[in-house]
């Protein structure tokens, strides 16, 4: 086991890892194969067998606002799947504030195409959980108008890609009206839906809209990746006075995790420390977090000590958490699912270069999806997104 930590080029021994809740980094990775891995079909199975991994991830919230949750051992908590966590968050907020309502296609009687709104219409009625006709631009605009006149709608795009039809409303009205009205009207909407590359869903159902929306002034964008942060971000987004776009991922809805029973939110503007390390900062979000963590296992076996941060807030970037990491490791690898051109990674690269150039020992590496419409064929689809092997290679290259 000691051999693992004679990292090539390691600046410091692993034992000097930061003193937050990760006291047992060593035990996490020894026997390397004991907990569940990201399977080749992309589904992560964090079942109770992977106790250590679970503890790692549920304690992954090292930021101030979330520290009560870090000691989730004080309360038993409850286990659920990611889509149930989203539903729980949504339901709790709807209980808490009668102005919170949902609108979207098939959110009501059908329970949502990914079951996030299951049971809500029965409980809250057809007007509060509104089944809309297939008219994204108009019902998004309707949600915005409702928000301007006192409600707090949660607008669902059945697939994020469908929100391309709502671009007019999201860009012009959602993002801008608070400003052009001189601050007179607020638009506390949450726009959410599943996106990302799925399982052979074809090009149009596999889009990553975060890259298109990121320039819109006046909106915030967050991406959830675990049941814990899914519920926390959902609640925070609903409570926020700003318009927030919450990106979910089609392949992550069945992730299982134990989350606290008590009320909690995740700060919208903060990133999440997944695994502290010393050698390299890996910035990622959404599904790629799991590819990164799988690569991290291999990397640790090879003697590297990567620091993994789930940036969570795609707009604005949490430059504090990111910056502190860069100052420590001096090497940055970004792993994202956006296209190479104009994605979140591109913006993040620019932001880091601008702010932390002096701390970098090597140019920032950014692994993104190919600038290709996602093919239907499984073999091709697999190579359009970043795979763990590529991440391992990139880190090795970066740490030479």
């Amino acid at each position: 086991m000691a051999a693992i930590f004679q990292g090539v080029g390691a600046a410091a021994p692993l034992s000097s890892s930061p003193s937050n809740s990760f006291d047992s980094n060593k035990s996490v990775f020894s026997p390397p194969r004991s907990f569940s891995v990201v399977r080749s079909d992309g589904i992560v199975n964090l079942n109770p067998k992977g106790r250590s991994a679970q503890r790692l991830i549920s304690n992954a919230v090292a930021t101030k606002a979330d520290s009560p949750a870090a000691s989730s051992s004080s309360k038993p908590g409850h286990e659920l799947l990611l889509f149930e966590a989203l539903q729980e968050g949504l339901e709790e907020e709807m209980e808490r504030d009668p102005r919170v309502c949902v609108m979207g296609e098939d959110v009501g009687h059908y329970g949502g195409s990914y079951k996030v709104t299951k049971g809500l219409a029965k409980r809250f009625g057809d007007l509060r959980v509104l089944d809309t006709p297939i008219a994204e631009n108009s019902f998004t605009g309707m949600g915005i108008g409702a928000a301007m006149t006192g409600l707090r709608p949660v607008i669902e795009g059945m697939n994020m890609g469908f929100l391309l039809l709502a671009f007019n409303q999201i860009s012009n009205n959602c993002g801008m009206l608070h400003y052009t009205s001189g601050g007179q009207f607020t638009i506390p909407v949450v726009i959410r839906g599943p996106g990302g590359v799925g399982r052979q869903l074809g090009a149009e159902h596999s889009q990553r809209l975060e890259s298109y929306f990121q320039s819109i002034p006046g909106i915030q964008m967050v991406a959830c990746s675990t049941p814990y942060n899914a519920k926390g971000l959902m609640k925070a987004a609903i409570r926020s006075e700003n318009p927030v776009i919450l990106f979910e991922h089609v392949l992550l809805y069945n992730l299982k995790e134990r989350i606290p029973d008590e009320d909690y939110i995740c700060n919208l503007e903060e990133a999440e420390m997944v695994r502290p390390g010393e050698h390299v900062t890996i910035l990622t979000y959404s599904r790629m977090r799991y590819h990164v963590m799988q690569a991290a296992k291999t990397l640790v076996n090879k003697g590297y000590d990567p620091e993994v941060i789930d940036i969570r807030s795609l707009k604005p970037f949490d430059l504090h958490t990111i910056g502190n990491s860069v100052k420590k490791t001096h090497r940055v690898l970004i792993v994202e699912e956006c296209m190479r051109t104009g994605g979140i990674g591109a913006s993040l690269t620019a932001a880091i270069t601008e702010n932390f150039n002096d701390y970098l020992d090597a140019p920032i590496m950014c692994l993104s999806s190919q600038d290709v419409p996602t093919p239907y064929a499984g073999t091709l689809e697999e190579v359009t997104v970043v795979q763990p092997a590529q991440i391992v290679t990139a880190v090795e290259q970066l740490c030479q």
Binding site: A135, N137, I144, G145, L151, G183, P316
Partner: protein, 432 residues
């Protein structure tokens, strides 16, 4: 020359046979009980391929307002459509709208305001006819041609003029401009630059009203929303999508089409397969009404019914107002395409002249009183311009305000503090 109240040509037919919307089998209309008032005038130059169906009134059918007017006039005690107070209010509002827009043109050419400025001259009857019937809590959603809607809704002329001058005392702090007039106090929800994008917002405001009544149990919430837009917008998807949703959920909204026959240089007839826009209402399950938009009293009668319908919870109405803009599309438009004869025809139907004639002929007011109103408005506008002139321009510090309702949205900077906590943030120079 025909004044606003001369009987339209079609009224020569017997009263009980006029029913243009019943050419098509009307969809189930929930208002079988209340007949709907509206004009039967056809569009100018439209080849009348449509023979009027001579059926007696069916649900959702339409009557000629002027016939109602004639009926009213023929009773032994002459009853007019308006009282003196109402008449003067309407007159003043229309004169304000006209004078304001004329002043805008002047100020634009003097370099006080910039960009795209779209003036409302000629269309005042619609704004006045509809908006003066609203309560403060009712909402109005407009387009880029929104100055006069703002004034009718109660936004002070000073605030609108300052906004046009880009001053910090403008109704949107100078951040919106001509095409983005907003007022939370007066429930004016825009001002939108792209056509059609305000209609869903209006639908949302109407949805809020229904939600308040039915979910939040505010039993007396009967706020109505008016959505104003033009003929060009009626070929846009958002229009149709919202007609559907509003009718589906019986939202308290009135869709008001200001059909001035031209979308910049595109004639309505060249852009639309069926130019009779009001017919598109019944296709979605709501009444469709056509009214002479150069006649404020006719517009007002139709508006009363449409707004009352919405307030009662019976759902939306589509009202097509035939009108005309005396000026070009915007101050940048040379307006060379429109036929001078057409312009002259509508100039003779100036809504302000028509109302003035009506007031005088019916002894509701006299020249002197009306001239006094004209003068009052002139003074008001001079004051508005002076106020706007003297108001300060927005300082740099205003730049980053109002981007987010919660400025934490700018995120956390490298030093761990929120960007909005940076002292330079309030100076407008913070790095965000």
């Amino acid at each position: 020359m025909a004044t606003a109240f001369s009987a339209p040509k079609l009224a020569a037919q017997p009263f009980n046979t006029i029913s243009p919307t019943s050419q098509h089998k009307p969809l189930i209309s929930p208002t079988a009980a209340s007949p709907f008032l509206g004009s039967t005038r056809k569009l100018l130059r439209l080849s009348s391929s449509s023979q009027l169906n001579l059926r007696r009134r069916s649900s959702g059918s339409v009557f000629a307002v002027s016939d109602i007017v004639k009926e009213k006039k023929s009773t032994s005690i002459p009853s007019l459509l308006i009282t003196k107070e109402e008449g003067l209010e309407l007159y003043e509002d229309m004169v304000l709208g006209r004078a304001f827009e004329d002043m805008c043109a002047q100020m634009y050419y003097r370099g006080k305001m910039f960009g795209f400025v779209h003036l409302y001259n000629g269309q005042e009857a619609i704004s006045t006819g509809f908006i003066k019937l609203l309560k403060q809590q009712d909402s109005v959603v407009s387009t880029y041609r929104d100055h006069v809607h703002a004034l009718s809704k109660g936004v002070p002329a000073r605030a609108v003029m300052s906004e046009l001058f880009g001053k910090t005392t403008g109704c949107c702090r100078g951040q919106g401009g001509s095409m983005h007039m907003f007022s939370s106090e007066h429930n004016l929800i825009g001002g939108f630059a792209f056509i059609g994008e305000g209609i869903p917002v209006a639908t949302g405001a109407a949805f809020s009203s229904k939600y308040r009544r039915e979910v939040l149990k505010e039993a007396d919430c009967d706020h109505v929303t008016l959505a104003f837009f033009g003929d060009g917008t009626c070929n846009n998807g958002q229009f149709f999508e919202c007609l559907n949703m509003a009718a589906l959920w019986k939202l308290p909204i009135v869709f008001v089409v200001e059909n001035n026959l031209w979308a910049i240089g595109m004639s309505h007839l060249r852009a639309t397969s069926d130019p009779q826009i009001y017919k598109k209402g019944p296709a979605f399950g709501m009444p469709g009404v056509h009214v002479d938009g150069m006649d404020v009293l006719k517009v007002r009668e139709v508006a009363k019914e449409a707004i009352a319908r919405a307030r009662r919870g019976e759902g939306p109405t589509l009202v097509e107002c035939e009108t005309y803009r005396f000026r070009g599309h915007s101050l940048a438009d040379p307006d060379e395409l429109r036929d001078p004869t057409e312009k002259a025809h509508y100039a003779a139907r100036d809504p302000i002249t028509a109302l003035k004639k009506y007031l005088i002929e019916n002894n509701l007011s006299g020249e002197a009183e009306l001239k006094a109103i004209d003068k009052k408005i002139d003074e008001l506008l001079e004051d508005a311009v002076e106020f706007a002139d003297e108001s300060p321009l927005p300082p740099r510090s205003q730049l980053l305000e109002n981007v987010f309702a919660d400025p934490k949205g700018f995120g956390i900077g490298p030093d761990g503090r929120y960007r909005c906590e940076d002292p330079k943030f309030t100076e407008g120079t913070a790095h965000v």
